[in-house]
């Protein structure tokens, strides 16, 4: 065991014995600088998503041609304070190819981004938990069947399989989320199954079975609590991945359809203009990156806080 932690601060941690495991994990989490940065990023994102109508200067899908004097298609950022001529309308992130205010679109995009992340992960969590718990708890041929099926899913490149699923379901944001969710199921199912297997033969589970507790109660009351912390970590990291992958599907035209202000499809719509109007590609991509980074930092922090064996 190395006495190693990323931050020297944690070395001095002395945890009062009266603290519960969750409180302790919370303290551990908040002691990490990177996790705090992640929390701040996602906090800002949530704030933006919540108050989008108040923050956005324009309608995210409203075309400004003919409504605003002097508006120029795909013009770069214009801030009057920073020397942009006063006769040009102010658009702090510029104007897109359809005369829409990019800033407003990016702000509304925060809503979709958070939504895709949470919905996608929720779907895969439910499916993964069900499959993994059943496989791990019942064992036998059912376990074999489920795990081999999941192996088949894992034999495909992640994104290609998602593309195939979305083309069956038809393009659209909801179907893109479903596609990514289905492809992510094996990861969750494996985490759950592993946790179930480690505690299935513990004395307290055997005791519960002996006094006649129904299997479903054993599963959710006695076994699942042991799997909660790896699941939380997996899910948090999964949100970042899901946002990234749904954006990729939107980029390929399989996810959100125009004029929806979704970052991936915004970027896709202007990708041929990257040499003439780079801000239209740069800014939506930056928004995706920061969001994913935020969730990844939180996920890493949670892993270090929740799993004492994984301290690095």
């Amino acid at each position: 065991m190395t006495t190693s932690t990323a931050e020297p601060m944690r070395l001095t941690t002395s945890v009062p014995s009266s603290e519960g495991p969750w409180r302790r994990a919370g303290h551990q989490f908040l002691r990490q600088r990177s996790a705090l940065i992640g929390l701040v990023v996602i906090g800002l994102l949530a704030f933006t998503a919540l108050f989008a109508p108040l923050l956005a200067p324009n309608d995210p899908i409203g075309v400004l041609l003919g409504k605003e004097a002097g508006i120029v298609k795909r013009s770069g950022p214009c801030v009057h304070l920073f020397g942009c001529p006063a006769d040009q309308p102010q658009h702090i992130m510029g104007v897109d190819g359809n005369f829409r205010d990019l800033f407003s679109r990016i702000i509304y995009g925060a809503r979709l981004s958070l939504l895709t992340g949470f919905v996608t992960v929720s779907i895969s969590l439910v499916l993964g938990v069900l499959l993994g718990a059943v496989a791990g708890y019942l064992g036998g041929w059912l376990d074999n069947l489920i795990m081999r099926l999941l192996d088949v899913l894992l034999a495909f490149p992640f994104l290609l399989l998602a593309i195939a699923i979305v083309s069956i379901l038809g393009p659209g944001l909801l179907n893109a989320m479903l596609g990514i969710a289905i492809v992510s199921v094996p990861a969750y199912a494996r985490v759950i199954r592993a946790s179930v297997l480690t505690v299935r033969e513990e004395d307290y589970v055997l005791a519960a079975r002996a006094i006649g507790v129904p299997p479903v109660s054993i599963l959710f009351g006695h076994i699942m609590p042991n799997a909660v912390s790896p699941l939380i970590v997996q899910a948090t990291l999964g949100i970042g991945t899901a946002i990234l992958d749904v954006a990729a599907l939107s980029f390929l035209g399989l996810g959100a359809q125009p004029p929806t202000p979704e970052w991936g499809s915004m970027l896709s719509a202007e990708r041929n203009q990257v040499f003439t109007a780079p801000h239209l590609v740069f800014l939506p991509g930056l928004a995706i990156m920061l969001t994913v980074l935020g969730f990844n930092l939180i996920g890493d922090g949670l892993r270090d806080a929740l799993d004492p064996r994984l301290k690095r």
């Binding site: 081999r148 490149p157 590609v281 994913v292």
Partner: protein, 358 residues
């Protein structure tokens, strides 16, 4: 070890069969039939009936599956409905580009990622370490398609006119053609035969082919075209590899045998590479093997951005035009590659760590 490899291949067979079955039935769930998808306006009921009969799509689905399985076992991957060419031939044409791109990307990822991870671990909490960790966090959070476009903007536009200028699309500058070695050496090759397609595959690996035949101009041009897409594709694996190398090294550097090696006066480089890194390799190799999925998935995006006609592109197009044989054939080829690489990774464990017995 041979027995272990055989055992692993046998265990992989059901998974491959599953892949076959899943692709076969899944592509038939895609709404819309190949006839209307490809003939468009011309797809009258009469035309479609003969079209579907000609392709054998009117037989019961299980019969179609049986026929398909038999064909696969004989090495016949079917004929593309849209392009009217054998799928194996298309694989021989398209796969080399993606293989070259993927290998190059993985190479960049390893050559940069591993040393970065080692140095970060050796100088823990130093500026290099912090930079590596911040960089790898950002690396795994970047959308590939965004990174690719930004690289194109930077190297094709901003750096235009400097020696660092790089082409943002295609495999070769127009006007240049890569002559396959078998044509150059006038081998009597039947490109339709199995062996011919294997030769065609190697001939289409532009870097390999131009090295083999000393076409230096082609080599450097192909290499320059490959740099940007490979950088875009390699960044996420690079970040993951750097991170894994760092944590594996940290784990090993605290061990007694490392202290002993230092105590007996070995040079720091020997301690780092022979004693520490050698023992940290196992998790690093595992994670490198796992990157193959990221690479193949990312290839679709990279090939779209850099206008490359590789596997990712043809698969994406085939899904849109319901070209069943292409989807099935290429997916199978990719899945086989997957299984083989994972097999190699597993077998390499025994070589990396002689304590492991199969």
């Amino acid at each position: 070890m041979l027995r272990y490899a055989l055992k692993r291949i046998i265990v992989a067979l059901p998974v491959l069969f599953g892949v076959l079955a899943v692709t076969f039935f899944m592509v038939r769930l895609i709404p819309g039939d190949p006839c209307t998808a490809q003939l468009g306006e011309k797809a009258t009921p009469q035309v479609c009936a003969s079209f579907i009969a000609a392709k054998g799509l009117d037989k019961p689905i299980l019969v179609q599956f049986g026929v398909y399985l038999g064909d696969i076992l004989r090495g016949d991957f079917g004929t593309s409905i849209r392009l009217a060419r054998p799928v194996t031939q298309l694989i021989a044409e398209r796969l080399p580009l993606t293989v070259e791109l993927g290998v190059f990307a993985l190479l960049i990822a390893m050559v940069v990622g591993i040393p970065m991870g080692i140095i970060a671990a050796l100088r823990r909490n130093s500026a290099v370490d912090v930079l590596t960790m911040v960089g790898s966090n950002i690396g795994v959070s970047m959308p590939i398609f965004w990174l690719g476009l930004m690289l194109a903007y930077l190297f094709a536009l901003l750096l235009k006119g400097t020696p660092l200028q790089l082409p943002p699309s295609g495999r070769l500058t127009s006007g240049l053609t890569s002559v396959p070695f078998y044509e150059l050496w006038r081998w009597p090759v039947d490109l339709k035969a199995g062996l011919g397609q294997v030769l065609q595959f190697f001939g289409n690996l532009y870097l390999f082919n131009s090295l083999l035949t000393f076409q230096w101009e082609i080599f450097s041009d192909a290499l320059r075209h490959l740099v940007l897409p490979a950088l875009a594709l390699g960044t996420i694996p690079m970040a993951i590899i750097a991170r894994m190398t760092r944590s594996a090294m940290l784990e090993v550097l605290g061990r007694d045998y490392v202290r002993t090696a230092r105590a007996k006066g070995l040079a720091e480089l020997v301690v780092t590479m022979r004693h520490a890194f050698r023992n940290a390799l196992l998790p690093v190799v595992t994670i490198i093997g796992l990157q193959l999925g990221t690479i193949f998935g990312g290839a679709v995006l990279t090939e779209t951005i850099f206008n490359l006609a590789g596997v990712g592109r043809i698969l994406f197009d085939a899904i849109n035009t319901r070209d069943y044989p292409i989807i099935q054939g290429f997916t199978l080829a990719i899945a086989i590659g997957y299984v083989l690489v994972n097999l190699l990774v597993d077998i390499s464990y025994g070589w990396l760590d002689p304590r492991i017995r199969y």
